[in-house]
């Protein structure tokens, strides 16, 4: 599939502001930061989680436990794929039981990834509450899932793609909306 960039939704400054707002909302809603734990979904959700944790540290002077979740083993479409996706490490080195867990991902779309992540988290223990933070909510949910914290709502068509680029992975901070250009070639 080939995509053409259609519009830039967020630039570096935009991402920074969105994350700062999300962080403030998290702190406002949960009051006691020491009860928090934050878990990012690989790959970009993990980096966003790290940034949020850093912001919390800057604002509240509290280091909250940070985990990384690889949801591959929980995917519901494994039997549909031609080869097995690469499994990366899940690193949750703290006990999530009784904690308020902020689950972080870059884009909320069908909700299936979040479903996987919820199943995975519950295998690690029994959190008091799980809240979901996403940088972009692009709609088109296929499961009854909603985010508690949203950086930006972006209405999209199914032909479009949201590409979140982060410095840690892509060398640049930006979010662009792309359009499939060879849609007619797709069968």
């Amino acid at each position: 599939m080939v995509f053409r960039e259609k519009a830039k939704i967020l630039d570096e400054e935009g991402i920074k502001r969105a994350l700062l707002r999300i962080t403030h909302e998290i702190l406002e809603k949960n009051k006691v930061a020491s009860e928090l734990g934050i878990v990012g979904i690989r790959t970009r959700g993990a980096h966003l989680a790290q940034r949020i944790a850093k912001l919390i540290d800057e604002i509240e002077r509290v280091i909250i436990p940070l985990g990384i979740l690889d949801i591959t083993l929980y995917r519901d479409d494994l039997t549909l794929l031609s080869t097995q996706p690469i499994v990366h490490k899940t690193e949750i080195d703290f006990d999530i039981t009784g904690k308020k867990i902020i689950l972080v991902d870059d884009v909320l779309f069908t909700g299936r990834t979040v479903r996987c992540a919820l199943d995975a988290l519950i295998d690690f223990g029994r959190p008091k509450i799980i809240q979901l933070a996403v940088l972009i909510d692009r709609g088109h949910r296929e499961l009854p899932i909603r985010a508690d914290y949203v950086g930006k709502n972006v209405p999209t068509s199914l032909k479009e793609n949201i590409n979140v680029k982060l410095k840690e992975v892509d060398g640049i901070d930006e979010v662009v909306i792309e359009e499939k250009i060879d849609a007619q070639l797709e069968t």
Partner: protein
């Protein structure tokens, strides 16, 4: 990283360096699952894994069974005595019958070299070789390599000595292929009667001198010696074998300070390895068992979709 393309895992000889690395890295991701309070992921839910064992095996079968269960697969165990092989049915007949029950993966241990290859050609299910005759035992070598990598941080450039009955050892063969593909230097050591013919064409060094095998090695992989070999005059007695090739504290004096002691089990204490070495500070024998689980989960995961 590349994707896994094979339906089966039959041996390491036919795998590329990258494919072996993929298994090891995948295993690394799976290791954490066994440390969770709920040691299970839903990945192979609804898949059936048959453990088809024609030779007695406790640890390999248990390891595969646990690995499959931790991936939520259903497992069925068939051993030679309970199957219909004894009634004159051929291996292929039995395999076809098992396949007719719609199984996804067959893990096979067999005393005949090449038996899993026969099976893999006959059935659509994925076949994992859990040891065939004197040929290969790929998951054992993979867990050995995983353990070496975990302890030493690398495989490339390490010196690994495999000591014992090389001629009849599938563990040795798989280790030779896997380790050398990943850049280790392998030395095999044993009496000439237990060194295979044509060894000069294998990518290994050969020595009959156990001191030499120990001296520069970063890893000593000590093989189990089978009592039957004595009956075929391959060595005069277990006592003489132990004196010459049994690894004890005395012989370990020649070893590097941080040498790793490995053994695929089960151990003949006092024959190929002395108790103080098996239980000593350099021994990683139990860690090998733990890592076996992660390696087998990785292999089950990879082949479950491979080759489609």
């Amino acid at each position: 990283m590349l994707n896994w393309k094979h339906k089966d895992l039959l041996g390491l000889e036919e795998l590329s360096k990258e494919e072996i690395e993929l298994i090891l890295e995948t295993a690394d991701s799976f290791k954490e699952i066994s440390l969770r309070p709920i040691k299970k992921v839903p990945t192979l839910r609804g898949k059936t894994v048959v453990l088809f064992f024609f030779e007695p095996s406790t640890r390999t079968r248990t390891s595969f069974e646990l690995a499959a269960k931790r991936l939520s697969a259903d497992t069925v165990s068939i051993s030679a005595t309970t199957s219909s092989i004894v009634k004159g049915e051929t291996l292929k007949d039995t395999a076809k019958n098992i396949e007719a029950m719609k199984v996804d993966i067959i893990v096979m241990r067999h005393s005949s070299s090449g038996a899993p290859h026969l099976l893999a050609k006959a059935v659509e299910a994925s076949v994992i070789n859990a040891g065939d005759g004197c040929h290969e035992h790929p998951t054992q070598a993979l867990l050995d390599m995983f353990t070496i990598k975990e302890k030493k941080g690398r495989i490339s450039g390490l010196k690994v000595s495999i000591i014992g009955d090389i001629a009849h050892s599938r563990v040795a063969r798989s280790n030779i292929w896997g380790l050398t593909k990943l850049g280790a230097e392998v030395t095999v050591c044993g009496p000439p009667t237990l060194i295979p013919q044509g060894i000069e064409k294998f990518p290994v060094k050969v020595t009959y001198d156990v001191e030499e095998a120990i001296r520069d090695a970063d890893v000593l992989n000590i093989l189990r010696i089978q009592l039957e070999r004595q009956k075929s005059n391959l060595f005069p007695s277990l006592r003489e074998y132990a004196l010459n090739f049994g690894i004890d504290a005395e012989k370990l004096k020649f070893a590097k300070p941080e040498v790793l002691i490995m053994h695929p089990g089960p151990i003949n204490r006092g024959v190929e390895i002395s108790p103080e070495v098996a239980d000593g500070p350099y021994s990683v024998i139990l860690e090998q068992v733990t890592n076996g689980l992660a390696v087998r989960m990785a292999v089950l995961y990879l082949v479950s979709q491979g080759g489609k």
